[in-house]
Assembly symmetry: C2
Homo-oligomer: 228 residues x 2
């Protein structure tokens, strides 16, 4: 078996597990989102601000991936919601098997929202379906405007782009209009929200997006369970 | 053949080609460096400032890798030195075969310095030897201080870390001392230079590092060719 055949086999196996996860989420009305970005684009900072804004009774949990360290899980556990670190060793992405394994001792029926924070990498995570309802890509103003063109796959597959660190705009050579234009060249229908985890700008819009998306997951659940 | 066996085979094949490249560089006294970082850490901006500072007659060339677009090659070609884009399609790293192929119509004996700018990714490029004399990792102040702990492999394998975007320090929640400490926890002997491609801070030190490293490559060459 050559390399491409092995890759296809691995991706097929992953797809089967991902579909099983997706079906479980659908049956229970859980919204699962998969946050993807380069290292340091602000996924964990955004999640800190997100969990901070949630009502104490919110049924939310986080799985956070990294090659090494439990740092992100420690940062996120402070908010009182269930958080688990997935340490991949050297692997450059999360896969559906890792997600399934780390969900084993959680009761999915107790959740409304499962947030997955992928390994910091704009390339590999885009090939691995985790059964999520939506991929969300983060691009920070300290990166370059041409990232959507250089890494088109993840921008094409994401439902929403969060333009992060918007507070740094005065200090960086970054043209936000060009970045948005490039993102829409790759994915014309993609929603874009500008946010700053430092100043709080745009976080209301992001929380509103999350709420609306959760309602859609719940609405689907009712469509499924009401007899015709 | 399972996935791990295929990965080993691919890495072994890469290693053979990398050693052949390394031997060619050694015989000709060419210094080859391999720049690795997350997307948007400032590899291309650093190379713009580097090429700008080179004497017109410098025997330097650049191979720049990306999944898609010729953007970086266009940015770098302005300085009058040979530049070629390597577009990997979906592949998350450069490999020795790509380097060999793109060097085919260049005369290596006309070069003193070959700069390889890898795909923006802190994970995959660390596994692929390109025959370079030194890997150099860039970490920007707009990322997090814990990146060396989260992505230890590339920090361990790099001879030098460039702490980029040092001009942004007043505007970002980044502790440079902690970042350096984390880098040295992973790799105690690693050299670290703070740089800013915007203000020019630290670029003299970086150019000096490059010059000293080129002299070492030339000195090795003399050791080889002088008869005993």
């Amino acid at each position: 078996m050559n390399r491409i055949e092995v890759e296809k086999k691995v991706l097929n196996e992953n797809q089967i597990l991902a579909e099983q996860l997706r079906e479980r989420y659908r049956q229970l009305g859980v919204l699962c989102i998969n946050l993807i970005s380069a290292p340091g684009s602000g996924k964990t900072a955004l999640l800190e601000r997100t969990l901070e804004r949630m009502d104490k009774g919110s049924r939310v949990a986080v799985l956070t991936g990294d090659l090494q360290t439990e740092n992100d899980a420690k940062r996120l556990a402070k908010f009182g919601f269930p958080v688990k670190q997935i340490t991949t060793g050297g692997t450059c992405h999360l896969d559906a098997k890792m997600i399934g394994k780390h969900l084993e001792d959680w009761k999915l029926e107790d959740l409304d929202l499962l947030i997955v924070e992928n390994v910091g990498n704009l390339v590999c995570p885009s090939s691995y379906d985790l059964g999520e309802d939506a991929k969300i890509v983060l691009l920070s103003t300290s990166e370059g405007e041409d990232k959507p063109l250089k890494y088109p796959s993840i921008f094409l597959k994401s439902e929403l782009m969060l333009l992060t660190k918007i507070d740094l705009l005065p200090y960086v050579p970054f043209n936000a209009d060009v970045a948005r234009e490039n993102a829409r060249r790759v994915h014309p229908q993609m929603e874009i929200i500008d946010v700053s985890s430092t100043t709080g700008e745009g976080l209301d819009r992001w929380m509103e997006w999350l709420r609306a998306r959760q309602e859609r997951a719940k609405a689907k659940l009712q469509t499924v369970t009401v007899p015709h």
